[in-house]
């Protein structure tokens, strides 16, 4: 469970995040939808405590992110926008590095990595060095290492960026599995189709503010648009004319 209240963050004169509030519940997939530069990545960075909010609170499973960032990070699995691997380490070693940083014991680490390697269908690359991995193989490895400590909450920043159709589809199925296990999945995207296909709830962000927060179906009904894409465009337009 991730709760965000009135989150604000400025870089100089630029208000990147300007009063964002929403909640991502357990057993649901929540999508953070918005155009490029809307403040999605900055919001997520405050969630996984890379940045401190200027104002507002973030709570993960009830723990305040500013007061106890380490406890929050222990409960989060994070796939940031930057997802570089260590090229001179194998996929398995990349996963083990993060497992050791979470201070997992060897037995747990082995069981968890094997399970993730199976679930993500990456057995054939597990012991290869990450140098020369395809985009899809890189994302799989990055997801596996983000989940090695079995976190209840998962944050993914544009996870399907650069993935082909097959890789996107298998990632989608993997996220459904995580939801079925009762985890809280929060991901950001600027692609409407992806959000429709995946989300139980959509939080639309534009210019650093939440402009809509509802299930995809409700969003469509509210704007009277036939597709979510039209709904999205309509919402963004309304918020921009309101700001002007």
């Amino acid at each position: 469970m991730i709760e965000v209240e009135n989150l604000r963050k400025s870089f100089g004169a630029v208000k990147a995040v300007d009063g964002v509030s929403f909640a991502a519940r357990d057993g649901e997939i929540t999508g953070l939808l918005g155009p490029n530069g809307a403040g999605k990545t900055t919001t997520l960075r405050m969630l996984y405590t890379l940045m401190k909010p200027d104002q507002g609170t973030v709570r993960v499973d009830g723990i305040d992110a500013v007061a106890d960032p380490l406890a929050v990070r222990r409960r989060l699995g994070v796939l940031p926008d930057a997802r570089g691997l260590y090229k001179r380490l194998s996929a398995r070693e990349n996963i083990a590095y993060f497992g050791h940083l979470h201070q997992l014991d060897d037995e747990t680490l082995r069981t968890r990595s094997d399970a993730l390697i199976d679930a993500l269908e990456m057995r054939d690359i597990a012991d290869r060095r990450a140098e020369g991995f395809s985009q899809g193989e890189r994302v799989k490895t990055a997801i596996a290492r983000a989940l090695v400590h079995d976190p209840r909450n998962l944050i993914l920043d544009e996870p399907t960026n650069g993935l082909d159709v097959m890789a996107t589809r298998s990632l989608r199925e993997f996220l459904f599995r995580l939801r079925a296990e009762g985890r809280c999945v929060l991901f950001s995207s600027h692609i409407m189709q992806e959000v429709v296909a995946l989300c139980d709830r959509v939080v639309v962000i534009a210019r650093g503010r939440v402009v809509a927060d509802a299930p995809p179906q409700t969003l469509r009904e509210r704007t009277g648009a036939a597709s979510l894409e039209d709904a999205f465009v309509e919402i963004i337009r309304q918020s921009e004319s309101a700001a002007a």
């Binding site: 890379l50 401190k52 222990r74 994070v78 940031p80 001179r88 979470h102 990055a142």
Partner: protein, 391 residues
């Protein structure tokens, strides 16, 4: 396992797999300095030895005017050569190092017992020419003194009349201290070796990690930033120390191939030198790797970090240069200044002494304090938000 140890092990393992880092830090770095030093040294030795015992070929203009002089010079090692058309041009174009010109007025002055003149044509801005002229001048002086004494005796005077004062040199330099002068650049080479050893890791673990976009995921782990910094910095320091140890061993081996005794010098790069040098260098290495990490954390990319660090590399040469240009008497407080303290201590060792316990303690404390300060500043930079965010 403490997370700092995890970070340390991972950085060491990953960098040992990188051929470029291993080659640079553990092979090229430590070998470069001793080999360079050996070559420089042997060139210098052969240049210096060449002076004394080899015949000196000198074109002589007007040799016929002073056959006695030419014969005497030949006995002292000069080999008379046929004269060039234009002595000045021959020296300028480096065809000849020095040309002796005996003017046609020489015999008449000589016969009348007056001062006869000869000319040396040379170029003082060229070392070989200057040295040759110096040797020839010395031969001429010796000849002039001998003839002068003979003339005094012929007139019934003691040659001592012309020699009211003689200064006698009592050089207090020992073969060891003479060696130390020649080796005064050695401390810089030692610092440089440690610097090169740590440089690639410092860049790779900070600027490199950010450039490869793996720093942000790393910092999303439940590990405080200081722990990450400690692990990375320890790995950098380990490489620098190994590089340093290999370098010092390299110098010890190179020392065996330097024939310093031929120059009446002694140099001892043995276990004693090895142990105290490493002790003095230890806190300095901590400081250097800290500064390298700090600079790399500021740099936006691998390339930028490399540029900054290449500039930083020239700072360690300053004490060596300073002491060469302004030879100061060493005071205990100077040992507290990082780099200067190590320079003084290593020089002291080379001269055959051992720095005092207080000097060593002051040196270690001063450098450690500076290292702690650098670590504190690095920690601040590491804690900043902009550290993790790539571009």
């Amino acid at each position: 396992m403490h997370p700092a140890v995890t970070v340390f092990c991972k950085e060491v393992r990953e960098n040992l797999r990188d051929r470029r880092t291993v080659m640079n830090a553990l092979l090229r770095g430590p070998l470069l300095a001793p080999v360079l030093f050996l070559v420089m040294f042997n060139l210098q030795i052969s240049a210096q030895l060449k002076g004394a015992d080899q015949p000196l070929p000198v074109p002589v203009v007007g040799a016929a005017y002073a056959p006695h002089l030419v014969a005497a010079l030949a006995q002292m090692g000069m080999v008379a050569q046929p004269p060039p058309k234009d002595p000045g041009a021959a020296v300028r174009s480096q065809l000849d190092t020095v040309v002796l010109v005996i003017p046609h007025g020489y015999p008449s002055h000589w016969d009348r017992g007056e001062t006869a003149g000869v000319r040396l044509v040379y170029d003082s801005s060229r070392r070989s020419s200057d040295q040759a002229a110096q040797r020839l001048r010395l031969m001429l002086k010796r000849y002039a003194l001998t003839i002068g004494a003979q003339r005094m005796l012929a007139r019934g005077l003691s040659p001592a009349v012309d020699l009211p004062l003689v200064a006698e040199d009592r050089d207090q330099a020992t073969p060891r201290s003479r060696g130390a002068v020649l080796f005064s650049i050695l401390p810089y080479f030692i610092v440089l070796t440690a610097f090169l050893g740590g440089m690639y890791l410092a860049i790779d673990t900070t600027a490199g990690e950010r450039e490869r976009q793996s720093l942000e995921p790393l910092l999303a782990n439940p590990v405080p930033r200081w722990t990450v910094l400690l692990g990375k910095w320890s790995a950098t320091t380990l490489f620098a120390l190994v590089s340093l140890a290999l370098g010092v061993i390299g110098f010890a081996v190179a020392g065996r191939y330097m024939d310093v005794r031929r120059l009446n010098m002694v140099i001892d790069l043995g276990v004693h030198f090895f142990a105290i040098t490493l002790l003095l260098m230890l806190p300095l290495v901590l400081l250097l790797t800290c500064l390298q990490t700090l600079v790399s954390a500021f740099a936006r990319s691998y390339r930028e970090a490399l540029t900054y660090l290449s500039l930083l590399m020239f700072i360690p040469v300053l004490p060596s240069l300073l002491l060469m240009v302004i030879p100061v008497k060493s005071h205990t407080w100077m040992y507290a200044v990082p780099l200067l303290g190590q320079q003084l201590g290593i020089m002291r060792l080379l001269r055959g002494g051992t720095p005092g316990v207080i000097d060593i303690a002051v040196c270690l404390l001063g450098s450690l304090l500076a290292a702690a300060l650098a670590f504190a500043v690095s920690l601040r930079v590491y804690a900043s938000e902009r550290l993790a965010v790539s571009a």
